[in-house]
Symmetry: C2
Subunit: 289 residues, 2 copies
């Protein structure tokens, strides 16, 4: 399809024809991480899982630093299936600002389906695998699958909440607090994916990545990390992140508990979606205690 013709990545499963079995299996495998993510807060029917798999439109392996989308070009809708990719902006002075990190199961640029051009680049931190989703079928699915549509809306809400937390961190927290906050977030997110063991994450997060995400210099991040290491709080060296004392790390970070919104949409809201036929019913979206 048009949006990806400039990609230099090895495109896998390129010439599949609709209805061809291996492709279906690839689709099911590719959307697996997304299904798992949704399943954290919502039960999906087989039909709904199938509807997600139907969005599948090929996949690609990415080398380190390879771009999925370039700034100013057409946005691709991708789902991360392996590795870590990031959305980033590069300033006129060449300094990078990472907007967010996308882990397996994360959807990139859901809202940009409608846009002709992206205002940011999307780049793999290290080798990664992504599935492309068909924009046309995505838009159609949103109309035809109210529950999936709500699930994706909830995911958008989680993403927004992370962006907001980032803004607070960048605006009102000093370097140590920022680093602590990001390390907590990363640990939690990788833990939720089963990719962390004993506080250790061995994906491709480096100190420079942290610096680019937090608006700091790599030098200063190194100083902070050294201090955390000396204090027995956390360590980050060479793609290996180890959280030694999560309690202390959280205390340093001034974290908003639960800002990742893993708990899922309110039951009342889900009820609304499943039963919006009876408008006069006694259902109300209620306040939390």
């Amino acid at each position: 399809m048009a949006p990806r013709q400039q990609s230099t990545s090895r495109r896998l499963d390129a010439g599949a024809s609709p209805g061809f079995r291996p492709r279906d299996r690839a689709a099911a495998a590719a959307v697996g991480p997304l299904v798992a993510k949704v399943a954290r807060f919502m039960r999906l029917t087989k039909a709904e899982v199938g509807a997600l798999a139907d969005l599948f439109d090929g996949e690609a392996m990415l080398d380190a630093h390879e771009a999925v989308t370039h700034e100013g070009h057409a946005p691709a809708m991708v789902l991360v299936t392996q590795g870590v990719i990031c959305r980033l902006r590069v300033g006129p002075d060449g300094r990078r600002q990472i907007l967010d990190l996308l882990l397996p199961g994360d959807l990139c640029d859901q809202h940009l389906v409608l846009a002709a051009a992206s205002d940011h680049a999307v780049i793999a931190l290290a080798t990664a695998r992504v599935a492309y989703l068909s924009k046309r079928r995505f838009l159609r699915m949103l109309c035809e699958q109210p529950r999936l549509s709500a699930a994706l809306r909830w995911i958008a809400l989680q993403d927004d909440a992370m962006l907001r937390e980032r803004i607070v961190a960048l605006g009102r927290r000093d370097a140590a607090q920022r680093v602590a906050y990001l390390l907590c977030e990363l640990l939690w997110r990788f833990e939720a994916l089963g990719l962390a063991h004993d506080g250790i994450v061995e994906e491709t997060i480096t100190q420079s990545t942290v610096a680019d995400a937090l608006g700091l210099s790599p030098v200063h991040v190194s100083r902070i990390v050294s201090r955390f290491r000396a204090q027995g709080v956390a360590d980050l060296r060479r793609t290996r992140l180890q959280v030694l004392d999560l309690g202390r790390l959280q205390a340093i970070a001034w974290l908003t508990p639960g800002y990742l919104h893993y708990e899922g949409p309110s039951a009342a809201a889900l009820g609304l979606i499943e039963r919006w036929q009876d408008d006069a019913g006694p259902i109300a979206v209620r306040s939390a205690p």
Copy 2:
């Protein structure tokens, strides 16, 4: 309805019964700014305008610094109709970080429809007027009105883009650049609403507001603004913002041109939504030049 029982604001038009004429007129008037905003990029049918008006669920006047939503409480879905309100977070040390500013026609917390609690407060900068939208009817509308649903998705995209721009500003730009960027953004947004004349905006933006939005101290913002004034670039005092030399201000700000996405969704994407029945058609979401 439940979410607003703790509000101390004067609730207007409270006891309206469905089908009652004056309420309909109030609804039409209240959603006017939103309709105008959508009309900037998409033609709406009368039925669609009616569907938006149907979301109306009362309105309220807010005093300066009065909250629409408190952090941790149930989020209200509101549409700003007059004045300026902001979403903000307050840190443990009492420092404020404004997440974004909402102008007439802006929708607050679209995605939080599904959430039981909000992670941020929503507060009026000065006297303001807001319309409450029914969450239940909103969710229903999203299912029944694909074009409106797309329009709201586009608005969400605009909001996201502003958050991303904020992140880049906070992470990688110095104080002067940040202030220049925010003043540009404000001028453009107020201009789009017809609320700016000759580069002058007289709404309730103060230097402290700017400081809270940009992660700076009011003192430093004052220094920057004084310099801008001396250079003949811009001025901001009391509640009067005047841009004297927009070109220079933009140059200082390192702005991403067009990040406000006023141009609207790509025609191709809109075509997709209106014609998603024929899946095999030759329609493609294409790249911008």
